[in-house]
Amino acid sequence: MNRRNFMLGSLALGCAQLPCALASKTKEWRYQFQSIKSETLEPMTLKTVGKWPASLKGNLFRNGPALFERNQTRYEHWFDGDGMINQFQLEGNRITHQARFVATKKYQKEQAAERFLYSATGTHIKSDTKARNNDDINTANTHVIPFNDELLALWEGGSAYRIDAKTLKTIGPMTWNDELQHIPFSAHPHRDKQGDLWNYGFIPYMQQPLLMIYHIGADNQLKRYKTIKLNHPGYMHDFMVTDDYLLFLNSSCLFNKKNAKNYIAGYQWQENQASEVILVDKHSLKVIAIIDIPPQFVFHFSHAQQLNKNAIVFYAAAYNDAEIMLSSMRNAGGVDPQKDNASLKKFYVDLSSKKIKIENTQVGLEFPQWNSALNTIFSVGYDKNISHGMSTKIVAYNVKTENAESYDYGQSTITEEPLSILHQNKHYLLHSFYNYKKNISGLALLDAKKISDGPIAMAEMNRVIPLGFHGSFVV
């Protein structure tokens, strides 16, 4: 997906109150970045069509920023909005939707004040209230995963928030122990084959930039944690886990807190700064290799695989630079959809020579999801010829055959992260979407082996929910 253009919608909506030529051009599809004013969206039944498997039951939980305005002030950056958990409950062809904001400390204080109190991740707010620590501006808006019988709403700069999976009510921040309180817990934890959960926290604003590594057992109890010093504070949003290693990409988008009015404003793309691939031994938690590669900017990795004792391959949706985060997500100018999209890159790591070979597949995609059973990376994709430049496709890239196929919903349907579902030995893909011609949100289900045939079933509702980031399907 072209996330850079994706943000034009958000920014154009911001322009609704400002002189901005883009506002009129993007009028039809900007509504997906409107704020939800109420704390909850009450249950609504979707209209279904097609062949929803009768025995398919479960919940699609999705998280995303859904509140961008208070008291005539609008956030400038897509990352800033308060997180809302959406729940699509599936029982065959009966599908209902409901949603609730995560009651973070920030959300509750600002609800009571009826205005923004804190400078957000990417917006400076004039206020007497300053953040005590990173959790004061925690929006819990990026991902939602199942954890025990609850959910965790995740952000990348602070604590996870515990959510009641039945009511979507917020239980409170997840504190692993006293000394870890408020330390970042990223929005992309990963489970390994043993069921252990791994995560990291990226802490670039200390005198020495740090990573906090978290190892949580299959029983969901914290096993180990350790800080690792970084050579430079390069933005990190995701990481990878293999049988023996944790892999991090220390990007070339560097943080400097000097004069930074907000977190995003502290970052600069440094084209002369090599990026680093950092390998950490899962067993000892020691750094075993740091390998320089040409400057990279990545939000999301698909996966990493150990091919043999000395070889690892990993795949990432990689950008040419960090413009998408630093500029396009906050500024409607200067977008070039032909030039600045993420494409799937393959990184071949030779541990004996400590070298990495990089291949660009030229397949444009974002929000990659790895399905190991099908050797396929599923994602959203886009059509460069569509003027709004947003994701309208679902893409499947087979890493064995190196073939990509896709289904394009057409200009008016914006596709979101597709998730794999294995049901009665059949692989499906489930994703949400927004159709700006009909002004509806909904779900689509595809046969994962026949992506190009398009959806086998769809569901839609006369309710628009803001575009989100990530989610989980929970049976």
Binding site: D128, T129, K130, A131, R132, N133, N134, D136, D178, E179, L180, Q181, H182, I183, I203, Y205, M206, L210, T227, K257, A260, K261, Y263, G266
Partner: protein, 138 residues
């Protein structure tokens, strides 16, 4: 000419010895439990090292705000640190990276992504009409 310079020097000397009043209001206090710890420093060195504060006091916390008044301070540059010891353990509670869990503040409300530097927190005490410092706890 010589006389004029001496006169100016003498005036400056007298000014530096002038006693000043300082009023400090600590705002945004979330509750009345515990104590406020307030320290006033008169140099970068003492500020950076949290040592030899010219004023160091502990005062019962009060929800919303507490005001302190001091008299007979020499004119000069000062910087203030304050924290709210909510659980009354005598310390500002922090996590393993030193990030505070309890509320704190600095003169000029300085500091982003970390404590205010002396440069951010320093203020000049020389005009009695403007000697009211407001610190918003965060």
């Amino acid at each position: 000419m010589k006389i004029s310079i001496l006169l100016i020097l003498n005036l400056l000397w007298l000014q530096s010895l002038q006693a000043e009043a300082l009023k400090i209001t600590v705002q945004n206090i979330e509750g009345s439990q515990g104590f406020l710890y307030l320290s006033v420093y008169d140099s970068k060195d003492t500020y950076d090292n949290n040592k030899n504060a010219i004023i160091a006091l502990k005062h019962k916390a009060k929800k919303h705000q507490v005001t302190f008044e001091f008299y007979d301070l020499p004119s000069g540059n000062y910087a203030i640190k304050v924290f709210h010891d909510e659980n009354n353990n005598g310390d500002l509670d922090v996590n393993m990276l030193g990030i505070p869990k309890e509320s704190y503040g600095f003169s000029n409300d300085g500091g982003n992504f970390g404590p205010a530097s002396y440069k951010d927190a320093v203020f000049s005490l020389k005009n009695q009409d403007k000697n009211h410092i407001k610190i918003n706890l965060r």
